[in-house]
Amino acid sequence: MADLFSNLALGFGVALTPINLLLCLVGALVGTLVGVLPGIGTIATVAMLLPITFGLPPVGALIMLAGIYYGAQYGGSTTSILVNIPGEAGSVVTALDGFQMAKQGRAGPALAIAAIGSFFAGCVATVLIAVLGAPLTKLALAFGPAEYFSLMVLGLIFAVVLAKGSVLKAIAMIVFGLLLSMVGSDIETGASRMAFNIPELADGLGFATVAMGLFGFAEIIRNLDTGSESDRELVQQKVTGLMPTAKDLKDSAPAILRGTVLGSILGILPGGGAVIASFAAYTLEKKISRHPERFGRGAIEGVAAPESANNAAAQTSFIPLLTLGIPPNAVMALMVGAMTIHGIVPGPQVMQKQPELVWGMIASMWIGNLMLLVINLPLVGIWVRLLRVPYRLMFPCIVIFCAIGIYSVNNAPVDVVLAGAFGLIGYWLIKHDFEPAPLLLGMVLGPLMEENLRRALLISRGDWSVFLTRPLSAVLIAIAAFLLVLAILPSLRKKRDEVFVESEN
């Protein structure tokens, strides 16, 4: 317990320095600014803004990135409430009741409840990270290569089971990502693999490059398909009366609480993340409500619960990253990319060797949430005006901004072309209903999986049964197999699809 407080004190000491406070603020603001733009999700936002943190010292860069992440999430919910175009899957459910509230002239309370719910969830999640951080790190140190490999398999299976759509296709995307991660030099022998003598590929495909292509460029190309202006239905009334009434607060308080609990749990699970959390929270609220017919017609619980769950999950998903070094979802995978660029290998060692980095980031999460609450409500007017910018002007700006960003990572024109190619691949994937997020996760985990598999088999002298004979590893593999079987069983598949479909109707 004393540890906990000294750790948090250390963290706040780092996060409260003026420069880090400023970075946190800038990150949250810029994240919201980009996240608000319709059609740009959290992953795309973080990928786009990654380059602007390169020049900073590691602590500052991570604090700013974390700020960008929450800002993007918050911006996404603003868009779904005001325009009914969810920037990302996680805000789809917020749009259901949020947009209805906005149409009834209650956009203010909807936005306020979303912010308050997110803030509350953020506070709980921050404490949770601080509490679970140290013990999980100890556990992680007991892990050998076999356990690590099994854990990553479990994480990937989780990602598949909890995702939307076909299990088979999601697994295929993960393996595609694993395969892409093999491009470059072999860590052990230094042999060049599938690089075709292109010097820029010798170090492997850049993570930011692929992410920007798959999520930035591909999204833009896809949005151009639909004829941008037609389906934008912006709430035209002025947003007035921000403050929710006493009844609103009373109605949403239990929903926020339930959403936070559900989101925190789902966030820790590898592969979980924000999307499933908000869907699950919405479904739960609807199930236990005495008036389920109100949902979809502007029920405030329908905004409060998913937004809290969303934010809680977004933060607790840092737990597996910081303690085990395993990114549980695509955004965390981007965080790994950013850390690697700064020469930090996330995992238990970081927690012990660079405590000021980890705890500073955790403390800044809470500060970032507070800032979002304070700055965003007054700024709603600006966000609304931003939403009026027509897409025909916005998309070339995003293309150029992304292009400069990618170029600035390595000063390599080839990277820009590669990102463009991945944009086209991403467009093709969307057209064939393949989800790009598992691909990104596979790409980050690829080298880690290979290394641990190699080491595990070297230690066991080539005996593959090592994954089943070591108890911890066997348990992890068993859970993974169990989940996979469950996901393929028709009865559960139906249930799983129900969660998504129900919220869509």
Partner: protein, 166 residues
């Protein structure tokens, strides 16, 4: 994230026995990628005793992808599924052209010229573009980026064409 492809009867180029064209084509593409990866990694060393060679893991993943690709293809064959989504050429073409022109121009011509030119090319990606406002916004963006990246973020970007600096 995903486009819901229309189930409306579109003129299909697929033979009748393909019941889910979207998955069928998707699976075949995965198989092609896997085969390509197998070919590309064929020159790498395999297992030496029980230690991995450079080619072991890539080939392992490629074989996995091959299997999954075949599975997706089979699913597309035997189960009723979505039709191929409609592709558009204008957006992808001009966005790609814009990206390529930026990549080609950034080294010799610097940020200002390449960003502005790429902006105009990208703007051709939609029929809705009105040139007057596009040029104004493009100029503003170029100015903003020229201040943001080299000055505010301190990244080593060259602003003007090489021949003008010398």
């Amino acid at each position: 994230m995903s486009d819901t492809p229309s189930h409306a009867p579109v003129k299909s180029i697929m033979p009748k026995w393909v019941r889910g064209p979207q998955d069928f084509v998707g699976g075949i593409a995965l198989i092609a990628i896997a085969l390509f990866a197998l070919w590309a990694s064929s020159d790498l060393q395999g297992m030496r005793g029980f230690s991995f060679g450079a080619g072991t893991a890539p080939r392992m993943f490629a074989f996995l992808l091959l299997g999954l690709g075949i599975a997706v293809t089979v699913v597309g064959l035997v189960t009723e599924g979505a039709h191929l989504a409609k592709y558009h050429w204008r957006g992808p073409l001009f966005v790609s052209l814009s990206i390529i022109s930026f990549a080609v121009a950034i080294r010799p011509l610097g940020l200002v010229v390449s960003a502005f030119a790429a902006f105009l090319i990208a703007a051709m990606g939609t029929a809705e573009t009105r040139w007057k406002e596009t040029i104004i916004v493009g100029a503003c963006l170029t100015l903003g980026c020229s201040l943001l990246f080299p000055y505010a973020l301190g990244l080593p970007l060259q602003l003007f064409p090489r021949f003008m600096i010398q």
